[in-house]
């Protein structure tokens, strides 16, 4: 941390190499778009390096980076929404093609996760896929750790219900 605050390029590079893939993975899973994920991940680290002095040490660096990334994604979405009011948007070929080649079970899982709604989906992906702790999720989303636990519990329950017919007989 002191080296990062001291504007050390090697320390910056090390942080990017360590945390970059995690931020990239999280952002891509939330937005599902390559270009957006690239822009947001880059902007996250740019903002982090510029504001590293503002990181007070409360929470983890990972949670702090997650917060920056989530806020940037929200900004991006707001801009997209404004733009979509004036432009007719077509589904991107990448997203359409990516889904058709998936096996049946994975398609069911994807549909169930999509149906969760953003609040629950983000917590589920952060906790169960990207392995953020509830404290880090709370830090990233600006919510209480208890809310993170509650959202995860609700998301898992909804997912279980949606995929109940896929579970083996003895597990039902």
């Amino acid at each position: 941390m002191p080296r990062l605050r001291g504007d050390d390029p090697e320390a910056r590079r090390a942080l990017f190499e360590r945390e970059g893939p995690r931020v990239w993975s999280l952002v891509y899973r939330i937005c599902g778009d390559y270009d957006t994920a690239q822009d947001v991940t880059q902007e996250t680290f740019l903002a982090a390096f510029r504001k590293i002095g503002g990181f007070g040490g409360t929470g983890t660096l990972r949670g702090w980076l997650g917060r920056i990334a989530i806020n940037l994604l929200r900004d991006q979405r707001r801009t997209e929404r404004r733009r979509s009011e004036t432009l007719i948007r077509f589904p991107t070929p990448e997203s359409a093609d990516a889904r058709t080649g998936e096996p049946f079970v994975q398609r069911r899982v994807n549909a169930a996760v999509d149906a969760l709604g953003e609040k629950l989906r983000v917590v589920l992906l952060m906790h169960d896929v990207e392995e953020y702790t509830h404290e880090e999720i709370a830090q990233a989303l600006g919510i209480a750790p208890g809310s993170s636990r509650a959202r995860l519990s609700r998301a898992r329950a909804l997912l279980r219900d949606a995929l109940a017919d896929l579970a083996p007989e003895d597990a039902r």
Partner: protein
């Protein structure tokens, strides 16, 4: 009942891992962009604060400045309204010929 602090069961984790699996990160391309961005001017440079204001939160400073501006604007409007009313009542008094002058309740004098 599953404890939410526990990891999800492996089959759930495997299924979820297949949800929008991220492609390989273009690390070098991104790092080059980050370095270029670090060299460029910050589009949102921090506002330099004097040492005493640096100690308190910038939001507090903004809120105080906004309150002060509101107070000054309100006082100005208040004075304007009072003066307009004063002019109007003086005009009414003038129309009455000054016969029905309102009683003076108090008066400030300078010694």
């Amino acid at each position: 009942m599953m404890d939410d602090d526990d990891r999800a069961p492996d089959e759930v984790r495997r299924a979820l891992a297949g949800y929008r699996p991220p492609p390989p990160m273009p690390a070098e391309e991104m790092w080059a962009a980050i370095e270029a961005g670090m060299g460029a001017a910050d589009p949102h440079p921090p506002i330099p604060l004097s040492p005493w204001t640096r100690r308190i939160r910038p939001r507090v400073v903004t809120a105080l400045a906004a309150s002060l501006a509101l107070f000054v604007a309100g006082t100005g409007v208040g004075f304007g309204v009072a003066r307009a009313r004063g002019d109007a009542s003086a005009a009414e008094r003038g129309a009455d010929g000054g016969a029905a002058e309102a009683p003076v309740l108090y008066r400030v004098t300078w010694f």
